[in-house]
């Protein structure tokens, strides 16, 4: 029997009723809310001011006391805190909104903390979130198991609050630095677009999504025509300006769900989810036309053009691998180059379809 039922506390965002629509104790939710400085509305949801930019800390513990105590004791920290009382709900919640740090109890009835930790670390979407284990299990075997499963830290209950705060801050710093590192590793320094590594990750994800949900998907590989001439004639700063200008144009012309990347050198890639081959060719050609209109400060007499190869599918692209997509887009790009440049060549991945888009 759980004396306190299964009250789910979301702090400081909201406080909810139990799964069966009732509070374990008719007045409890109101009292918890009052102790946190708020009032529960008729739906059992309390909203208080929160700053979305503060890092999110997820507390998973079946003891309502731990939720109350940490809510009170960590309220002055620069964090947002959300709470679950069931281990089994953790993975879904973390995927929905990845927290900066998870505070995880081990001894829980439905799914223990070790299982939760294993599931988090087995999933590519959640395995980088730092986890501080909060546990009454004090044996070194439990601590070793937790660390081997990927825990960042281990705090035993009853916890010393000053120590817990310090460890939480350390974990938040670690999360911040890891994110910074990951961002830097994925960003092209010259243009601010995603780099090749970023492209590889996102492209694999988008191909898998398209396959799973039978959604349209397209890819464009874009290359600046005669870029070497710009460098040789006007110098590398002019070449850098052209690359940055094309990057800005890609960002400006693409839709919010498109993913523009610098592929390397003067080559760019544009992932277009939810876009069939015809629309992809149209979007890419619009970029080609827009680039041709740009007047460059360092060489106003010489416009810059691009060639592109696009490939796409309207629904399911069958068993075509990400690499095969890329190879086809590359072939189209070279076809555009061989065909005189300043062109977009497009392929519909539906069998037997290959069309030459309009030349500029």
């Amino acid at each position: 029997m759980n004396l306190l039922g299964c009250v789910r506390v979301f702090w400081p965002i909201r406080l909810m009723k139990t799964d069966d629509g009732k509070y374990a104790d008719g007045s409890r939710a109101e009292r918890i809310a009052a102790s946190m400085g708020g009032v529960v509305d008729s739906e059992g949801i309390r909203t208080v001011s929160s700053n979305e930019t503060k890092p999110l800390v997820l507390l998973v513990d079946d003891s309502i006391d731990v939720h109350r105590l940490l809510s009170a004791r960590l309220r002055h920290e620069q964090i947002r805190m959300t709470s679950l009382t069931k281990g089994s709900e953790t993975l879904e919640a973390v995927k929905k909104e990845p927290p900066a740090v998870i505070l995880l109890d081990l001894d829980m009835p439905d799914m223990d903390g070790f299982e939760v930790l294993r599931a988090l670390k087995d999933d590519a979407l959640t395995n980088n979130v730092p986890v501080i284990v909060l546990s009454g299990l004090t044996g070194s075997e439990d601590k070793v198991t937790a660390f081997e499963l990927g825990a960042t830290d281990y705090v035993t209950k009853p916890f010393d609050l000053a120590e817990l705060r310090a460890r939480l801050r350390a974990a938040l710093r670690l999360d911040h630095l890891l994110k910074l590192l990951a961002e830097r590793a994925d960003v092209d320094g010259l243009t601010g677009l995603g780099n090749r590594a970023h492209f590889n990750k996102r492209w694999a994800e988008k191909v898998a999504e398209s396959k799973r949900y039978s959604q349209p998907l397209s890819l464009a590989i874009v290359d600046i025509d005669f870029f070497k001439r710009v460098n040789d004639t006007y110098g590398h700063p002019a070449g850098d300006e052209v690359i940055q200008g094309v990057a800005r144009l890609l960002q400006r012309e693409c839709r919010s769900h498109d993913v523009p990347c610098r592929f390397g050198g003067e080559e760019f890639a544009l992932i277009m989810p939810h876009t069939g081959p015809k629309d992809a060719a149209m979007v890419t050609d619009r970029m080609r036309q827009a680039l041709a209109q740009v007047v460059w400060q360092r060489h106003p007499e010489n416009p810059v053009n691009l060639s592109a190869g696009t490939v796409g599918c309207d629904a399911s692209c069958g068993e075509v691998t990400p690499e095969e997509w890329l190879e086809q887009a590359d072939r189209n790009l070279y076809a555009a180059k061989r065909g005189g440049r300043n062109k977009v060549v497009s392929t519909d991945l539906a069998p037997g379809t290959c069309q030459l888009a309009k030349a500029g």
């Binding site: 759980n2 004396l3 009292r31 006391d65 731990v66 009170a72 009454g136 209950k157």
Partner: protein, 122 residues
């Protein structure tokens, strides 16, 4: 594990929270103390049903929480009870059960002596 005699309170003065003067904790300590009769009843109910799994969990949760509310002595007693239940064999002997019962008596007594406010002490 049925018994005609329920565990009784330990005599003596009330137990005051270490955080009694902490404005951040006054409300929470009061809530904890107000809810203590329900917790005690839940522990006794688990004992009457012979539900050692529930009893262990209740002791485990008290162990983890009581320190935070400023009642480390209650937490320590709950931790001892949890350890004893974890050490019970498949078929506990009469001495083991008697020992467990004494620990429950001690824990319940401590639980019943907690005070929300120093002014409650009389």
């Amino acid at each position: 594990m049925e018994s005609s005699r329920g565990p009784g309170p330990v005599g003596g003065g009330g137990l005051r929270s270490e955080f009694a003067g902490d404005p951040e904790m006054i409300g929470l300590v009061k809530m904890f103390v107000d809810e203590m009769p329900q917790r005690v009843e839940a522990i006794l109910e688990s004992w009457r049903r012979g539900a050692t799994g529930d009893l262990r969990r209740q002791a485990h949760q008290l162990k983890g929480a009581c320190g935070g509310y400023g009642f480390p002595a209650v937490g320590a007693a709950a931790g001892s009870l949890e350890a004893s239940i974890a050490g019970l064999g498949q078929r506990a002997g009469i001495d083991e059960l008697r020992g467990l019962r004494e620990q429950i008596d001690e824990l319940v007594g401590l639980c019943q002596s907690v005070l929300a406010d120093p002014a409650d002490e009389n």
